[in-house]
Amino acid sequence: MKRSLKINDEIKNSVIKYIAAFLAVIVIGSMLILLQGENPFNAFREIYKGALGTKISFGSSLRYAMPCILVGIAASIAFKAGIFNMGVEGQLYFGALVAAVVGYSYKFPPIIHIFLCLLAAGLAGLMYAFFPAILKLFFNVSELITTLMLNFMAKLLTEYITMWWIGHGVSNLGSNAIATPKIYDSAVLPNLIKGTSASYGIIIAVLIALVVAIFYKYTIKGYELKQVGENLKFAKIGGVNAKSSFVSIFLLSGFIAGISGGVEVLGSYFRFTAQFASNMGWDGIMIAFIANKNPIAIVLVSFLWGALKAGSLNMERLTSLNKLTVNILLMLFVLFVSVDYKVLFKEIQSIFKKGSVGG
């Protein structure tokens, strides 16, 4: 009857949103580039070339999209359940370190080795999310504060462990990088597209996103968690066990954040380098928000994000512009996507209406 599924206005709205934000970024970005004395057309062309121009550049777009998907998913499942896990970055660092350690210290058959490394990475991230979860549960300490603070600890603690316990300090590599030894080949994620930097990690990331999407859409537990996140009181009254949901989702978020660190090590760096992930966890939080916590949208936004990252590196090489310019553009994009365009259009409409009446 009247009750079948229908495509709602939401999808239409979000498409409008992305297009509007994209146009705004192009306009403002052009001005920014002009101010620095470059031709915007050239700059955007180089970004495009670096992102999608060749097979290699497409590969590196995928390579940068890969961790984005995972950190985005990690952040979004926590946010969906109303948990402010700002500690994706820290959980990622521990995941990466542990993946590297398992990768270089033991030898296993190839696929099993990869699996074990990622499992260990996930568990490391999970453990690191365990502390704030417990603090929140038993002492009602805001997880926003604890996870935020634990990020700094994670960054420095992994550096400390790498330098002193694992013992491969400065001299070993001849550079100022503090890093673990290279992992065994059996732990390396194979290339997805030959001759590029895209590894099978992207497949893992997309699969995890799909599983999360299915989990929220089709499972009972996923339904409960969504309700807990959107209206805790409602869910509680309905009989949902909010405490256990809280802990399990917090740990799951940490688990996926840990895996994202592991995938970075196994697929791109092949060793753990101190402070290697330049704010990747924060990218995840932003991506989760832009995509409105929708796993499928996260995959799409991450591809865009990865493409811009790859493109910006190319632009930096071939023009006088700094890649930070692209960072500014990315942040502007985040800003414009957060605008509620429906309200904005209404405001503009009313201004015009008033104008016509007055005139």
């Binding site: 229908k6 089709y218 499972t219 009972i220 509680k236 009989g239």
Partner: protein, 516 residues
């Protein structure tokens, strides 16, 4: 007739929201110095119309004549400066500010543009209070005050702003019978000194008690302009709904069975004082037990302990089907057969961010479950949702729509249906008809009586005394954390129970004495 006889005149006001016509060419004249009631069901367009008068909304077409002049206010502030003030159903007060600060908010006045002249304001307000015979404390924080006083504060706020036309939206829904009397005498006083009052309500008794004129709205149109002397309650109700309405709950004969709920020595202490003290009562199958009381007398805490949201003091016992459940979670209690309709519909009864079906299966997914332990069964989800929609006549476009797209009445029907169709043996129902119109109230009452007749035990908590008296087989009254007996159905009248609610000596005891 002279023009200045009317303080407000609305001509052909039309307002649409999308495809919905909220106000359809409404004409309305409000005479100066009168109390004019506007009645109508939810969604009849009362609130929209008043929001147009106070300039929260702009009409699509039509004219507003105020004090003989055509007006076109830009924002509510301008309307309020011209003397149009409104007391909203949900009070617009800031909890963490004092009464004085709330009253002068936005009208700090004085010659000093930077600092607030608190003493001057205070003097002015005191003058107003004296003139209009209100007695409100000025230096107390809002959150410490009872509801009836908050309403007075809202009225004083309007008078301080120099309102000539006062609009009150459902002002009695939060008051006890005594409080309502107080409000009415205040309103009559205001009328006598020349203020004009628009009184919005759907409680028919009040309409007759206070109004000089009555305007009935139905489906966005004026369906009648009447003098109270020309009409009776039943006729007024049918004007509102458009058909005959039975205003009395038709109780069915029911047989009470074994005890379903037994509460023994239940106490709860908060901040060192008893919020619940040695509560004892029981509830049998097929029985409706009603608890009346002024908001904040402890009903809320009682429900929370029964539901498992709050842990009572040691020694308290709550037996559900003979088993002590004090240590059990809500989930476990639901599984045992305890359903709940919370008072706060929008925050606790539903999740406004979710779709209709997601709201419909809450609880059902635990108590009834699905074929698979892991996956939601889409077929079962939609069949249960549609069952609610059909049996409880919820008006729905698609079950994938956001629940927010439904009207308040339909949301309540959805909640009632959800809890009633899950086969619970005991239902805790809190204010089931708050803010609903006559038609919907009639419907919900009927459903409650019907389900009780099938052997379900019902614990009804309501701030509407009439509701408790109409539906309950046995009545209790909460006052200050104590539970007092209020007799069987029809044993005590409204005034007697009202007295119990305000802590008067137990009328029931004297009643019993006289009986013997």
């Amino acid at each position: 007739m002279k023009d200045d006889e009317y303080i407000l005149e609305l001509r052909k006001i039309r307002k649409t929201f999308g495809s919905l016509v909220a106000n359809d060419n409404i004409d309305l004249k409000i005479k100066k110095g009168t109390i004019h009631s506007i009645v109508g069901e939810n969604g009849a367009g009362k609130s929209t119309l008043m929001n147009i008068v106070t300039c929260l909304h702009k009409p699509d077409s039509g004219e507003i004549i105020y004090k003989g002049q055509k007006i076109n206010f830009k924002n509510p502030m301008e309307a309020s400066k011209q003397g149009i003030g409104m007391v909203h159903q949900e009070f617009m007060l800031f909890n963490d500010l004092s009464v004085l600060e709330n009253i002068i908010m936005g009208y700090e006045g004085g010659s000093n543009k930077i600092f607030i002249d608190k003493e001057g304001c205070k003097k002015n307000i005191k003058e107003i209070c004296n003139q209009y015979k209100f007695n409100v404390p000025l230096d107390v924080m809002i959150n410490n005050l009872p509801v009836a006083l908050l309403q007075q504060i809202e009225i004083v706020k309007l008078l301080y702003r120099g309102a000539d036309l006062l609009i009150l939206d459902e002002p009695t829904s939060v008051l006890t019978p005594l409080g309502i009397e107080g409000l009415f005498s205040a309103l009559k006083f205001l009328k006598n000194i020349g203020k004009t009052i628009i009184f919005i309500t759907h409680k028919l008794k009040e309409v007759f008690a206070i109004s000089d004129y009555i305007t009935v709205l139905r489906d966005g149109k004026v369906s009648g302009n009447i003098l109270p002397s020309e009409i009776n309650e039943a006729k007024l109700a049918s004007l509102m709904v458009g058909r005959e309405v039975i205003l009395k709950a038709q109780k069915l004969d029911s047989v009470f069975g074994e005890k379903v709920l037994e509460v023994k020595d239940l106490s709860y202490i908060d901040n060192g004082s008893y919020r619940l003290r040695d509560i004892n009562f029981d509830l049998r199958t097929g029985e409706i037990v009603g608890i009346a009381g002024i908001a904040g007398s402890g009903q809320q805490k009682l429900i929370e302990t029964v539901m498992g949201l709050l842990k009572p003091e040691k020694g308290s016992r709550i037996f559900l089907f003979g088993e002590n459940v004090v240590e059990k979670s809500i989930r476990e209690r639901r599984l045992m057969g305890l359903g709940y309709i919370p008072q706060d519909r929008m925050n606790e009864g539903i999740n406004t961010l979710s779709s209709i079906w997601e709201n419909a299966i809450m609880g059902f997914h635990i108590v009834h479950g699905f074929k698979s332990k892991i996956f939601l069964d889409r077929k079962e989800v939609s069949s249960f949702t549609n069952q609610i929609i059909d049996k409880y006549s919820v008006k729905v476009q698609s079950i994938d729509d956001k629940v927010q797209s439904l009207s308040g009445g339909n949301i309540q029907k959805l909640i009632v249906g959800r809890e009633f169709l899950q086969g619970y043996k005991l239902l805790v129902i809190e204010d089931p008809t708050r803010g609903l119109d006559v038609g919907a109230i009639e419907f919900v009452w009927k459903k409650i009586i019907e389900i009780a007749a099938t052997g379900v035990a019902i614990l009804l908590i309501s701030h509407d005394l009439n509701e408790v008296m109409q539906l309950s087989d046995r009545i209790f009254v909460m006052y200050n954390g104590l539970l007092k007996e209020g007799g069987l159905h029809g044993e005590l009248n409204e005034n007697e129970i009202g007295l119990l609610m305000t802590g008067g000596e137990s009328v029931y005891e004297t009643f019993l004495k006289n009986k013997r």
